[in-house]
Amino acid sequence: MNWVVFIVFAYAALGMEWGLRDALQLGNLPVAPSFVMILLVFISLWATPMVSIVAGLILGAMLDMLNQLPARDGTDVVVLGPHALGCMLAAYTVVTMRALMFRRGVLSLAFLSVVAMAIAQIIVVSLLYVRSRYDVISIMGSGQELSSRLASAVATGVVAFPVGAALGLFKGLFGFDEAARKPFRIRPRL
């Protein structure tokens, strides 16, 4: 994969994630799609497994940096790890599922965006909940936090249709490895 192109798209996705998310927010609820997750799923559909996981690590670490949490002492805390681990697992999930999907279809990308986002958010909420039991970080009730984040996963799937179609136009720029593009094939019995 061309890492320069990855950095440009990651920058654009992070900017949209931070600046445009509230435009697609559902009422006053903390439910909104994630542009970064759509990019990660797109990459994981086409790149080699190791590249996908490294992309997940980078994008997740960036999300950890952006999403600082309020602490009980009235300050804000950056927690590095939950999104990074969640995105790595999400990337790995897409890599294992992509052989069963029609990769060129936007529907596949939308479906995998919901799955990947849900997996990443379960990891995020689990780690933050455990840490909030003994640390100063403050999260909403774990049930409420998880439900709003899972609703965000559905919203991500909806937005993945137009964004995925747009990303598809730039697929050539990413220079994905040939090895990762081998179609799923049933080996004939000898």
Partner: protein, 297 residues
């Protein structure tokens, strides 16, 4: 002799281990991680800022606050001007009270306490963190912003939140509508839309508001006597000594519901902010000036 290349799987396992440790380690050991956010925000802000402004404009188009196209002043604008004038009047009355007590203190020979002066600074919103209930604004420590500065909506006297962390160029504002806000309770005075006088504040009923999950502020135990003097549509302004002086008399919202509770002695009062605090285009930061050396304590 050629060196062996590191095994990618071993590297991956080590990375996962480090991330798990960082994710679960207490904040006092991982506070340094926050330093990396500042350079990232410096990079992201030039892109997210215009997008956030675009988002706010789109929201305003759906919920128009613009002036009358015929050149007439809109009702909302007049209301805003009245709110602003009322707030100036409330502050002036507060100042008169302070000066009166100052004279008394001087007569007694006690050195009086003086609130520090406040500097105002406009800051554009560059992002929102929905799960943390915060917004990021485009001013930081290089502009003199400090933790505890008060953010007020640009086009009204509406309180937006309080600055909880400051980077070199970006600050984070914790919104009044988030339940994790510290202090969690806000004492509000319920006043009408009329011109405020000194008597307005001495007679005004009070409520202790706490953020609710739906973005409103709620007091679930207002004494029935006080609640009887409140009406839906009444304005609620902050009057809470635990908040900085710059936040006093800022608008918290309007009463939208007064409901009975299980106890006949209490009512539930719901206040809805007049401004969508997470979608404001920009805020005015009220930054307390550091007291000068040799001045009053």
């Amino acid at each position: 002799m050629a060196r062996n290349a590191p095994n990618p799987r071993a590297l991956l396992s080590a990375t996962i281990l480090v991330l798990v440790v960082l994710a679960l380690a207490p904040t006092r050991f991982t506070r340094w991680v926050g330093w990396f956010r500042n350079p990232l925000m410096i990079l992201v802000a030039p892109l997210s800022g215009p997008l956030a402004a675009l988002s706010s404009r789109a929201h305003e188009a759906v919920d128009p606050e613009t002036d009358d196209p015929r050149g007439l002043v809109s009702r909302e604008d007049l209301q805003r001007q009245l709110d602003e004038a009322n707030q100036v009047s409330a502050r002036a009355l507060e100042r008169v009270r302070e000066l009166e007590s100052l004279v008394t203190e001087y007569q007694r020979g006690v050195p009086p306490y003086r609130d520090p002066a406040v500097r105002k600074l406009e800051a554009a919103r560059i992002g929102v963190n929905l799960s943390a209930g915060t917004i990021d604004v485009s001013r930081g420590s290089r502009d003199g912003v400090t933790v505890g500065s008060v953010a007020i909506a640009r086009r009204s006297q509406h309180l937006v939140g309080i600055v909880t962390s400051v980077g070199p160029r970006v600050s984070t504002v914790h919104l009044i509508t988030d339940r994790r806000l510290d202090p969690p309770l806000m004492v509000g005075l319920v006043v009408s839309d009329d011109v405020w006088k000194e008597q307005t504040f001495t007679d005004a009923p009070r409520c202790q508001l706490k953020a609710d999950a739906d973005g409103t502020l709620v007091d679930g135990a207002v004494p029935a006597g006080a609640a009887d003097r409140m009406q839906t549509g009444h304005l609620v302004v902050l009057s809470d000594p635990s908040w900085p002086s710059a936040a006093q008399y800022c608008i918290l919202g309007r009463i939208t519901r007064i409901e009975p509770t299980d106890s006949p002695h209490y009512r539930k009062v719901v206040v809805t902010p007049q401004v969508d605090v997470s979608r404001v285009r920009s805020v005015i930061l009220n930054i307390p000036e550091a007291p000068r050396a040799g001045g009053a304590p």
